[in-house]
């Protein structure tokens, strides 16, 4: 077995990690094997969805049907963080709600943590956690009371719920809030409290809907660390939806890109970015005439695509910006024109999305 983890148990334990003795031995073994490395392919599927569809009837006399989700197949392996990325209105939240049993699929099937989504939704509910974008607590309620009340719905007795709740709160930097009202917490604190509520019954899979929306940058980074801790220390599988590229990029082991109700791409962030034709070079020239000339020079570069001119700015792609740049600048000087600014950007997920759909992720 890998590292043995010795945990001191006790209420008000300030330094407890997430991996408390509540965790069955089996899951900790999965996190670190004898070789210290576990490939994702060895992990069982924790979500297996085929052909999920969801249609809505639009209100109004026409009675038109809106196909929010048009047949989604997806798989998620245990222990990974999967980011579900797409522009607003793509069907992310609808798909998430179907997988959580909050919405019945119009068609298709899925197995979530081993339970059949359509035939046994109650069992799915027992096995998953869900953290909504809207929150989960009443502002006038006490945090501790909300946690215990929610835990009891899963059959956990008050004493266990209190101990576990306090441990989880401490692990998410919320040690002192047990008696505070939920409305008095900051946005980031409240979001982390929602996560505690979603984890109180130790689900193997937790769904996070737009977890960092509305949070300031510091709280976002802090939240991401806690989400990584969930995977690393508890072996929890995390399925999160987001429309933020940086969140999907830095947090996810794998990304599913959804647009217009279907999955348009999936893979690790690195794999997806490889699909985009290299780095972006942006040249700012003095005049539009210079830009025209520069564009011709850029097009002649090895592996460059057709440059796009916007007034005095030229933008194009090359396989490797670092090696192309000196050549480009040298060629420009030889031609007697100088750029007043140059920018080299590695591909982003927005570039991936742009390549795949012709549209930008940004609204």
């Amino acid at each position: 077995m890998g590292s043995a983890i010795v945990i001191k148990q006790g209420p008000g334990h300030a330094h407890s990690t997430l991996a408390t003795p509540f965790l069955p031995l089996r899951r900790r073994a999965a996190a670190t094997s004898n070789t210290g490395e576990v490939t994702m392919a060895e992990h069982p599927l924790i979500i297996e969805a085929k052909g999920l569809k969801r249609s809505f009837k639009a209100r109004g006399a026409k009675g038109k049907t809106i196909d929010a989700v048009r047949g989604i197949d997806l798989t998620v392996r245990e222990g990974e963080i999967v980011g579900f990325l797409g522009p607003n209105g793509a069907g992310k939240t609808t798909t998430l709600k179907m997988l959580c049993t909050l919405l019945a699929p119009t068609d298709g099937s899925a197995s979530v943590v081993g339970a059949d989504l359509r035939r046994d939704p109650v069992e799915v509910r027992r096995r998953i956690g869900y953290v909504s974008q809207a929150g989960s607590t009443s502002p006038e309620a006490r945090a501790g009371q909300e946690i215990v009340s929610h835990a009891r719905l899963y059959g956990i007795d008050t004493k266990t719920a209190t101990a576990r709740g306090k441990d989880l709160l401490a692990a998410l930097d919320l040690s002192e809030i047990w008696d505070r009202t939920c409305g008095s917490l900051s946005g980031g604190q409240r979001r982390r409290l929602d996560i505690v509520m979603g984890l109180i019954h130790q689900p193997r899979l937790v769904f996070l809907d737009e977890p960092s929306t509305g949070l300031d940058p510091q709280s976002r980074a802090n939240l991401w660390n806690h989400i990584r801790k969930l995977r690393d220390e508890l072996g929890t599988t995390v399925f999160l939806t987001t429309h933020y590229m940086d969140e999907a990029d830095s947090l996810s082991d794998r990304i599913l890109i959804i647009d217009n109700g279907t999955i348009v791409a999936e893979g690790t962030p690195a794999e997806l970015k490889k699909r985009v034709s290299g780095d972006t070079i942006t040249l700012t020239m003095r005049t539009p005439t210079d830009a025209e000339a520069a564009s011709g020079i850029a097009a002649a570069l090895n592996g460059a695509d057709k440059p796009v001119i916007d007034a005095h700015v030229v933008r194009f792609h090359v396989p490797d910006g670092a090696t192309a740049l000196p050549v480009l600048l040298g060629d420009l000087t030889k031609a007697g024109i100088d750029a007043i600014g140059v920018d080299v950007n590695r591909p982003t997920l927005d570039d991936v999305f742009l390549t795949l759909t012709g549209r930008s992720l940004r609204d």
């Binding site: 959580c100 049993t101 909504s132 929150g135 989960s136 309620a141 909300e146 009340s149 009891r152 509520m197």
Partner: protein, 252 residues
């Protein structure tokens, strides 16, 4: 049976929240108390006229109790809309709790609150001069509870279905006023002209008020008493059915 356990959990949570905010409980009580103390004394003069069977208090207080039950229940929908906005409803729907428990637990809390208000109202009425057998008070509280439950179900159903205070408020007010006016709550409908009495007969709440008035007079054997109770029970069952259906439809 998880339904009873889940209902109790949802009820405990709702009750704890209500106890932390007693202001709303007191405000809900304010309306009938004001009617009792500021309007009731006027009825003592009117009571001398025909159409009033029994003294002013025996006629008026049943109406106030029915009003408490109806209005106390009718406005709880705003609470469930607020909870839906906070994400509480979705959180409970994602848990393995029985769907109906989510509604019934809340209605049970509303019934406790309304019946408590009813006890205070009866206490105040006693101070103002109401004298009836203890059985009458108890039956009155039962009816208040049943009415409160029925309207709590209906209000929660409308609240969850519309998810909008702007939709709930006009619906509730449109329901409330005709019910109030046609139930003979303020003055008995026997004072009304024949056509108005006929219209009022279609209003089940008029019969419930009359049932309670008969009880307060000591006329337990009057058939209207049984009719009123049965109507109240039917309304509760109907309300519970509607409430559950609306909540289940949320996931469809």
């Amino acid at each position: 049976m998880t339904f009873f356990r889940d209902t109790w959990i949802i009820f405990s949570r709702a009750m704890t929240l209500s106890l932390r905010q007693p202001l709303w409980v007191l405000i809900g009580l304010l309306q009938p108390i004001l009617y009792l103390t500021l309007f009731g004394p006027l009825l003592q003069t009117v009571a001398a006229s025909s159409g009033f069977q029994g003294d002013a208090w025996q006629v008026f207080v049943p109406g106030l109790l029915v009003q408490l039950g109806i209005f106390g229940g009718l406005f709880v929908g705003f609470g469930i809309i607020a909870e839906w906005r906070s994400g509480v409803i979705d959180r409970q729907l994602v848990s393995p709790a029985a769907r109906s428990a989510i509604i019934v637990g809340r209605t049970l809390r509303d019934v406790v609150v309304i019946v408590t208000q009813g006890v205070v109202l009866c206490g105040a009425a006693y101070l103002m001069g109401l004298r009836v057998p203890i059985g009458a008070f108890l039956l009155g509280l039962v009816l208040v509870g049943l009415l409160g439950a029925a309207f709590s179900f209906i209000s929660n159903a409308i609240g969850i279905a519309t998810k909008s205070e702007d939709a709930l408020a006009p619906m509730v007010n449109t329901l409330a006023l005709p019910i109030l006016l046609l139930s003979g709550i303020l003055l008995p409908m026997t004072l009304a002209p024949a056509w108005l009495q006929m219209v009022a007969n279609f209003n089940p709440f008029k019969h419930i008020v009359e049932a309670l008035r008969a009880v307060f007079r000591g006329d337990f054997a009057d058939p209207i008493v049984a009719i009123g109770l049965v109507l109240a029970v039917i309304l509760v069952v109907l309300g519970a059915w509607v409430g559950s259906r609306v909540l289940t439809a949320q996931t469809k």
